[in-house]
Structures are given as C-alpha cells and as structure tokens.
C-alpha cells in the first residue's frame, strides 16, 4: 500500500498543469481526471492553431507520457460523476478513487445564449480543440457568424477570416472588447478587422438563429437584418463549471468559493482556476490562474502561500492586431489619462494614472512597452517623475531636464 498522501485533481487544464509542475518532487500520489480525452494543452494557443499559424501538436504542454513519467495516474476522457466528501472518494465514470485531498479544477463552460435555434447543428462555442477543428473545417467562401466581440470571439473571427471564410461579428455593446479596450482603441481594432474583410456589427442584438435539422442558415437580428452563415460561433463569455462541486455541497456562488489558500468550504478540498470565486471575483485570464496554481502548490506542500489578485493584462492573439490592456481604465474622479495617438500608423496608447501611480494601460498597434507598464501597475510605484516620457517607455532619465525656452 502506498503510504503517500493521495491527491486527486479534477481537470487537466492549464491551471492544473501548472499546479502539477509546481508539485514536482512533492511526496504525493496524484490522480488526474480530465473530461477531454487528452492531456494538457495551452488553450490560449488555439487561436493560432485556428489561424493556421501553428498546430495542435505544438501547443500540447503535458501529454499522457509526461504524466506517466511523473508517476501520475491519468484518467483522461473520463467524467467525474460525484464527490463523496464523507468517504473522501471520487466517483468517476470508470470507478471510484479515494483521496486525502482533492483539487477541483473543472474550469468553465462557454455560455450559450438561449436564442431560438441555439441547439441547431453548426452552432458552436469556442472552447476546446473540437470547436477549433469545426471552424478549421470551413472552406474558403463559406460564411460564419460570431456572436460576441470579446477576446475569444475576435480570435475566432480572425482565425476563420484568415482561412478565407467570410465572417461577421455581432456584438451587443457599443464597441469591441469593452472590458479591455476603450472606444478609441476598439475603433482602431475594428478598422483593422474590417480591413481583413471581417464585418463588425456593434450595438447589434441577436434575436434568433435560423436553420433546419440540416444545419444553421442565418442569424436574425432584432432590427430584422439576417446574416447568412454556415457556422455560428457563440463566444459571449464563460461560466465557472461548478456542477460537481455544488452537488457535493461545497459553497458555490457564481464560482466555487475559495479562501486565500484556495481552500473550499471543505478543508480537504481545494479549487483552482476558472471554476473558482475568490473574494467575489471570477477569473478568465491565465495569469491569475498560474498564480493560484503556485499558491496552491505551496499550500499542498505545507507552506503559507496566499493568493492575492493582481492587475491583469490582456493581449489579443490576432496577428497584426497588436493590442495590450492592463489594469483599470474606467474613468473616475482623480484619474488622469495620458494619450498617444498615431492614427496613420494605427497606434493608440492610453495610460491611466491615479495619485501619481500607473493603474491602467490600453495600447493598440504598438504594445512593445506593455510589460514595463504592467510591471509599473503591479508595483504601484510613483511614476510622477517619469510622467513626461511615460508614454514612450523606459530609458529616459528624468533628471536630464531639457531646456524650457530658447533664451533662458
């Protein structure tokens, strides 16, 4: 009998993969469930796969062989039916597994708007390799509609457009990527997408998906317009996948509630990734997930790690749409904006300052200094002395004062 503590992880997504990386060398007997019939791959890279810039094989980070070499038991393609907290047993489709400690990393499910026709063949989300392959199967000249002008929807649209598919993006808000971009940056982005032949419809409300058993045929908008399509991709957000946790009686609000140690309401059970809710916040970007993974690994190893959310940065992985956003860029009293605009070059930068500190950055067209801004946002250091050159990046000595007039 193996005397090591038994750790079961439900879900082999990017957060779980990173957790396992951090647990290397820990004295644990690990079992890894994954509903998808494969190991861990970099989901963020599906868009380049879709765009034909890379292949699936290149984005796999942890395959079955990798886990085998680490002595980790993998149960891929197997759904977890339920958690028996009292017995500390996981019931998978293929049988139970006891645990000492459990990590729920079930991720999220794409949200599907319950429009009439949303279950027609040819209506997909954009979440996994299967969705990606559906889109890759379209032929040049075929039509696709993407509902949702956020990060994922635009990557889907651009990926299909790169394959010669005629794509329309339908977005309910006034500008694209409204959570990451201000209207001006979004305008540049929209112009760039339109230049690739993508039709962008903002302030557009979907009413019904038209089609038959044979497949989707069109999307009808509330204003009566009909957008014919051979495939309809809904990319309007994600919902934490909490079903198995909720059934087990864990505290679940919008996500599985965890504390700073990623511990759920059951001390033996932790949760990680897009499925959790921490201090009321949900997570959809990779950086905090990796941070959570590091914290949780530390906790599982007996450490005192604590997860504290940090500002986030976003990059859109659409080649030619160089975009970066980080921190908080909502207008508010006491916030001051620095702008750089070069419409001819399609460059836009906006930095948001509060009390002398950088709290947000939105950039389009030239994101070379994104990392520096992100560091400044995270460090919260006073940038008043750099204010004059902040838009232009690091490397300018604020002590080297230029002259203030010709004569004086």
């Amino acid at each position: 009998m193996d005397a090591r503590a038994r750790l079961v992880i439900i879900g082999a997504g990017m957060a779980a993969g990173r957790l396992i990386d951090h647990l290397e060398g820990a004295d644990l007997d690990i079992t890894l469930f994954n509903a998808e019939p494969r190991g861990t791959y970099n989901r963020l890279m599906l868009s380049p796969v879709l765009a034909g810039e890379t292949t699936y094989d290149d984005i796999v980070t942890h395959d079955a062989d990798f886990y085998a070499a680490r002595g980790i038991t993998t149960r891929f393609g197997e759904r977890v039916a339920r958690i028996d907290r009292a017995a500390r047993v996981i019931h998978g489709e293929n049988g139970p597994v006891p645990y000492d400690r459990l990590v729920v990393a079930t991720g999220s499910n794409p949200f599907m708007i319950p429009l009439p026709g949303h279950d027609l063949p040819g209506v997909i989300s954009y979440r996994d390799l299967e969705d990606t392959e559906r889109m890759m199967a379209l032929r040049p000249g075929q039509r696709a509609v993407v509902i949702g002008g956020g990060l994922l929807g635009l990557e889907a649209a651009a990926g299909m457009a790169a394959r010669g598919v005629k794509v329309s993006v339908v977005h309910i808000m006034g500008h694209l990527m409204e959570r990451q971009l201000d209207p001006e940056a979004a305008g540049l982005l929209q112009a760039s997408l339109e230049a690739r032949g993508i039709e962008v419809l903002c302030n557009a409300q979907s009413e019904a998906i038209l089609g038959s058993e044979a497949g989707v045929e069109a999307l009808r908008l509330k204003d009566g317009r009909e957008l014919p399509c051979d495939l309809l991709c809904m990319a309007v957000g994600i919902r934490p996948a909490t079903a198995v946790a909720a059934e087990a009686g864990l505290d679940v609000e919008r996500g599985i509630v965890v504390d700073d140690q990623m511990q759920t309401s059951d001390p033996a059970i932790y949760a990680l990734g897009e499925c959790v809710e921490h201090r009321g916040a949900l997570f959809g970007l990779v950086a905090p997930l990796y941070e959570q993974a590091a914290v949780l690994a530390d906790v599982l190893k007996g450490g005192q790690g604590a997860f504290a959310p940090k500002p986030l940065s976003t990059k859109l992985k659409v080649t030619g749409c160089d975009l970066f956003s980080a921190g908080d860029f909502a207008d508010a009293d006491g916030r001051e904006n620095l702008f750089l605009r070069d419409p001819d070059a399609g460059v836009y930068k906006r930095l948001i300052l509060e009390e002398g500190r950088l709290i947000g950055a939105v950039m389009y067209g030239d994101t070379g200094e994104g990392g520096w801004y992100f560091d400044l946002i995270q460090s919260g250091e006073d940038v008043s002395m750099l204010r004059d050159t902040l838009l232009f990046g690091p490397g300018y000595d604020p002590a080297e004062l230029p002259t203030c007039s010709l004569a004086a």
Partner: protein, 880 residues
Amino acid sequence: MDGSGLPTTRSTCPYCGVGCGVLLTPDGNGGLLVKGDPEHPANHGKLCSKGSALGETVGDAINQGYRLRTPLIHGKEASWDAALQTVADRFRDTAARYGPDACAFYVSGQLLTEDYYVANKLIKGFIGTANIDTNSRLCMASTVAGHKRAFGTDTVPGTYEDLDQADLIVLVGSNLAWCHPILFQRVLQARAARGTKIIVADPRRTASCDPADLHLKLAPGSDVALFNDLLTRIDAAGAIDEDYLERTEGFSAALDAARADTAAQTDLTEDELARFAAMWIGTERVVTVFSQGVNQSTAGADKVNAILNCHLATGRIGKVGCGPLSVTGQPNAMGGREVGGLANMLACHMDLENAAHRAAVKEFWDAPAMPEAAGLKAVDMFRAVGRGEIKALWIIHTNPAVSMPEADAVRDAIAGCDFVAVSDVTGRTDTARLAHVLLPAAAWAEKDGTVTNSDRTISRQRAVLPPFAGARADWDILAEVGRRMGWEAEFDFDSPVEVYREHAALSGLAGEMGRDFDISGMAEISAAEYASLAPLRWPVTAHRQGGRFFADGRFYHAGGKARFVPVSWRPPVAKTGPRYPFRFNTGRVRDQWHTMTRTALSARLSAHLAEPYLDIHPEDAAGLGIARSDLVEVKSPEGTAILRARLTDDVRRGEVFAPMHWTGETAPSARIDALVAGHVDPVSGQPESKAAVVAVSRFDAAWYGFAVALDAPAPDCAYWALARTDAGYRMELAGREAPADWEAEARRVFGLPDAAVMSVSDAAQGRTRLAFHAEGRLLAALFVASGPVAVMRDYLATRPGEAPSGVLLGRTPADVPDPGPTVCSCFNVGLNTIARAVEDQHLMDVDAVGAALRAGTNCGSCRPEIATILARLSQMQAAE
C-alpha cells in the same frame, strides 16, 4: 578664386561700425562664400559670428519669397516708372501745397555714402527742407554733439591702432565683446601682447566684463558723475597736462562743475572709484571706448564731454595708444555724418546754421532752395508725422516702426501719414508693411559704393551679385526721383563714382572753410581708381592723408582751441516709482543685428538666443513670483511687452535688461522700443533708449508652446517668437486662453489642413503634443504645456523634413546626446557638448575647449560664454 572659377572680390561687411573687410566669392548659384580680408586694416582677416555668416543671408533660396521683386503701389505690383513717378509727384505736390517742411526723409546708417549724399542733396538743396534724419540719431548723435562742442567739428581723433598700442582700455557703456567683436579681439590681443588692462563701466555685467580687470557696475546714467570724479582726481593728482591746457578753453569751469558733482550718484564704492582713477591717471596710454550706453541718454552729449574733458585735461588725445574712441553701431553712420545726412547738419561737416557754409553749398549744388534752420530730428519728426504736419515721408533702409522710441506711436503715425514711400530689400518689415509705395532696393553685395567706419577708414562695398529681380541701387532711385521732380542736370548721375567725385569736391570746399572732413584729394578719382580703391583713412587732401587729430592742439572752433564743457550729473528723465519700479535697459545680443532683417535669415545666427528675453535679478524675480523660463509682462507708460525671463545677477537689483532686435515679423510682443519714452538729449536730440521705467509681472499664460516647422507658421497668440533653423523654423508660443481644439488650431497655424497627425496628450497637466507629417517626413510639431515647455529644442529643430517617429518624445533618442543651445555659432557647438567635454576631458580653460571642440577658435565672440560655462562647472564641482 575657388572651385567655382569665379573671382574673389574685396568688400566691406554691412553690419556694425567696425567696418571689417571681407573677401566675397560667388558660389555660382546666387550665393557667396565670405571670408575676412587679411589686408583690411580694421580686421586683418578676422570676422565675427555675424560677419562669418553673411553668406547665409544671401542667395536665391533666401531671396525667394523674402526679397521684393517689383515696386508695389498700395500693395500691388507696379512698374518702376509708375512707382518713381508717384514718389516724385507726391513730394513735389506736397512741397508745393504745404511747403517743403511737410516733406521728410528718414534714412539709415546702412546707406552707402553715395546714396546718402544724393538723399541729402535732394531734400536739403532741392525739395528745400532740412527734414532729413536717420537712424544714426538713435546711435551716435550724442557723440557728434559732444565732438562738436569740444573740438568744433565731429572728429574722431584716434584710430583702431590705438587699441593695439594702449596700456589701459576703458569700455564705457559698451558691450564691445558682442557688439564690436573684432575690436574686442584687438583689445584681447593687446592684452596678450603687452598686458593691456581692461576696465568696463556698465550697469550690467556683460560678456565684455569677462577678461576685465575692473568692472564698475555703476548706476544707470551716472557716467557724467564717474568722469567728473575722475577729472577732480586727475587735478588732485597733479596729472593735468598744463602745456596742452594752453590749447583749450574752459578748464576751470569744467573742473568747478566736476567738483560740484558727487560720485555717490554712481553707486560705486570709494575703493572702486579710487582704483579706476589710479589706473586711468597712472596709465599714459589710455583709450576710453564709448558706445550706446553713453550716447542713448538724455545726458548723452554731456557724458561724451565728461569723457573728452578728461582726455583733454591730460593731453591724452590724438597720440599713439590714447584718446577717446566712439564706436558706432552702423556700417556707415560715419559716412552719413560726413555727407551731412542729419537734420542739424549741412554737408561735409559744414553747419546748417552757418550762412557762409549754406551759401557755399547752395552755390556748389546750384540749388534752388536751402533751409536756414535745422530740420526735425527723428523723435520730433515722427511726432510731426503723427500730427499730420509731415505729409510725405520717405523711409529708406530702416525700420522706425520698431526701432524708434514710442514705437507703437511711431507705427501709428506712419500708418496715418498721407504718403509714405519705403525703400527696402524686403516688404516683410513692420515699416515696409505701412508703405504706400514700396521700392525694391539692391541689397548688400549687389551694390557699389563706400562706407566709413568708426576710425575714419573709407572702404569700398562692391557688387558681386546681380541685383535681385528688379531691385535698383539707392543713389539711382533717389537721383531718378530728383530728375523726375525737375532737376535733370543736378541729379544726372550714372554711377556711384560720379556721386563720389561730387562729394569729394564738395568736401574740398569744406576744407577750404576750415573743416576737418576733406577728401578733395579724390575729387578727380577715375572710375578705375574708384573700382580698385583700397581702404584709406580721411582726410585725403593734397597735403595730408589719414593720421590722428589734435595731438598738435589745433581744433576747429573759432580761435582754434578745444573747449572743455562744464557738465553736471542729472538722472534719466523717466523716474522709477511704485507704478514703474524698474529701470529698463536695452541692448543687443551677440548674433543678431538691429531689427534682424538680415541676421534672422541665418539659421546659425538664430541658434544663439533665438528668443526675446528680459534679464532680471533673481531676488527681484523671487519677489514677483517669477521663475526661470517664465514669461513676463513688461509695462511702461508707453507700451507693453511679453518676454522670457532670464534670472541673472548680471543686472543690478531694480534694473532689467532686454535686447531690442525683435519685431512684428519675429516676435510682435517683444517690440522693445514700444516701451521706451521719446525723451531726448536736449543737445543731441538722441533718445534715452536705455533708461525707460517699467513694471514687471509674471505673464498669466494659460499655456506655453514650442514648435518646429518646415515652412513658416502663422501664429496668432499673445506671445510668439519665430526663428529660422537649418530645417525650417522654430517658435516659442504662449497664450492667455487655450484653444478648445489644439489639433484644429495647430493645423491653422502651420497651414496643414490635411496632413496626417500624431499626438500625445496629458490633459490634467495641460500637455499636448502634435506632429504633422506626410510621405514619411515631419512637416511640423507643436509641444504645449501649462508651464514653460521642457523639450530638447535644439534636437527638435533638426527634425522637420526627417522621419516623424519619436519626435513627440521631445527629446533625443535614449542613446543620442542633446547638443544643447548653440554657444559657438561658427562651428555650431552647443552648451551641453561643451559641458560634457569639460567634464569628460577635464578641460581647464577656454583654449582647451577650443582645442577639443574648435569652439571659440574662429571669431572668438563666444569665448566669454565658454569661460562662464567653465566657471559654473567648476563651482558645481567645488560644491559637490
């Protein structure tokens, strides 16, 4: 000869009264290569920064759009025939209807002697009025008056060689280092060769003070008290030359007046006064150089006589290495004096009030009329224009709407005059814009004639370039107007040499009547001799050429003796008080000249102090809440100006200084003479340009701006100052209210309605930066801030026409050093470059900087500034 195969021609620099010889070689493309003439006695091959840059002020590229192509009547192109006939008709009709005194000429020390002669002849002898005055009234009228009172005629006794031979040189009211740099180089050479001591008497510390043994930072306008004190100490020391005193009159009265004065008025300590007197008295070879600080004063003539009294009392005059030396600001102020081109002169140093002189000249000219009394001097002339008494005015080569005191009133008077003709090379001056008839004159290097410098040396200016477009020489324009007015024979001149012969012949009459100015030895000069005339010093007669005056004790008063003039200190007319607490001094900067119509064409010259400014003592500034680089509003009873504040203890507390070059064309809020009252010296009629009273306050700017542009912008805001650069233009701006839409405003100012734009903005800090570009080239950029704009100006100035990327940063790229503001114009070396070299290479003195960077090794004008940089850096190191 040079590569162009075109010959090199000797000529004379058109700037200050030093009168340096230049070698001009056309480059074959309308331009000129300019070098100093090693054989000219004034400069022996050297040139100052302005002279060195002469080639940048001529040529097709400069002329296009700047020079007048044809005459203009009421702003419309007209033929020469129509324009000249209009001028002739209007003067004839005005004289006939209102009398000759309703006519006036206002001319310039930049006219050549031949031009000046024809102008003076036309108005005095033929139109029949003495209403001809000149910008020399603003320059050296007090010296003329002082010379005449002491010597009986307007004679410069010594020569430049005296500077080489002196053991003490006293600069009174003269920033010789900047205003007459080549003479200053001679002073420094003398210092190096024979240990000549230098004393500067100036309320302001200037570049000339750098090598001085003693700087007397005296109270403004107290020169009379200083030299009266010297006279009493000369007497007390027993240093009076009793033998020479025999050749003079009035010494005891002058000494009594001097004793009655108090040196306390100078604000100098007893120690300073005693040191000055001891050095002056103890040095036989002493030259007292004086300039505008003496002349531009309501006590100007008295100041001159206070100086002359000391030289006469010691007999130190007209001898090798000693004497008083007035240095003039204009290339031909002296020529103007010689032809009598002022309202209170006649011709050839003959006097208007002298009936015998009048009769002689009238007969010589065969003139129909001859005024019997002096005409209106400049200030009174323009007041008469303003009152409508002068109804026909011809302004030639000068810019009184800028340079006269009460400049705003003068501008308005000209604008309201019934008829105004203006001769100039360009229509783009404050004055030319007011002309009814605008006549395109040939410019320097396009015309032939002579000029006389400050030591009586007559030099040729020679034409080496064809006149631009339809331009004509001034003597020719004036003579044709004379002919069209009906005096065909009297103005039948075909060439300058014919004018010169007549002038020389007339001077013979003057000589016969006992005057000093006699060049009758050239009355028969042939065209060939005139063409090849080498520089020579007057007089030129059968018996005598050149030399010094008055060592022999022979003067031009009746009785042949010099006269002491008893003089007493009196303060400037304008009084400071609670409303106008500051004394307002004016002057020049190193690389600009007069109203910048020529020097502003050179990017190199414009790189040094390209903006009008006000020097104010740091403690005064602190009291007024004025910080470095702030703009200040300067108000006098006469007008207002907006200037950049420079905080410096070069000026005394309670005194401020501003340069006087800027105009409506270059910085309309900096028309300095709009602040100056029209108070004049009762003797000389010269206005008190350096002692106005003003109030100073921080200019309440809502925004400050800096701009660079490929093409000339058209700003419209409370403050702007425009300067040329190699790449186009640069400009400082400020306004009371920020435009709602900076991009729209910038497009209007730059004339770029459609160009692509890049921008950065920081609304909370009031910062906006815009860069307009097309086809990968920067067209213009504007940098706006709520305070003085901090950008690397000298780098940005190089960017128009280049790739626009990075310009909005306002700095050099991270790995490129900023050269900083230009210090050495000749080799274009910036302040930061010098400072870096000093620190990195441990350079200890000006010569070491020169060896490392070449800075200061050509004209030498920037050497005092380099010394200041070295001193400041060593202070900083000591403090560290």
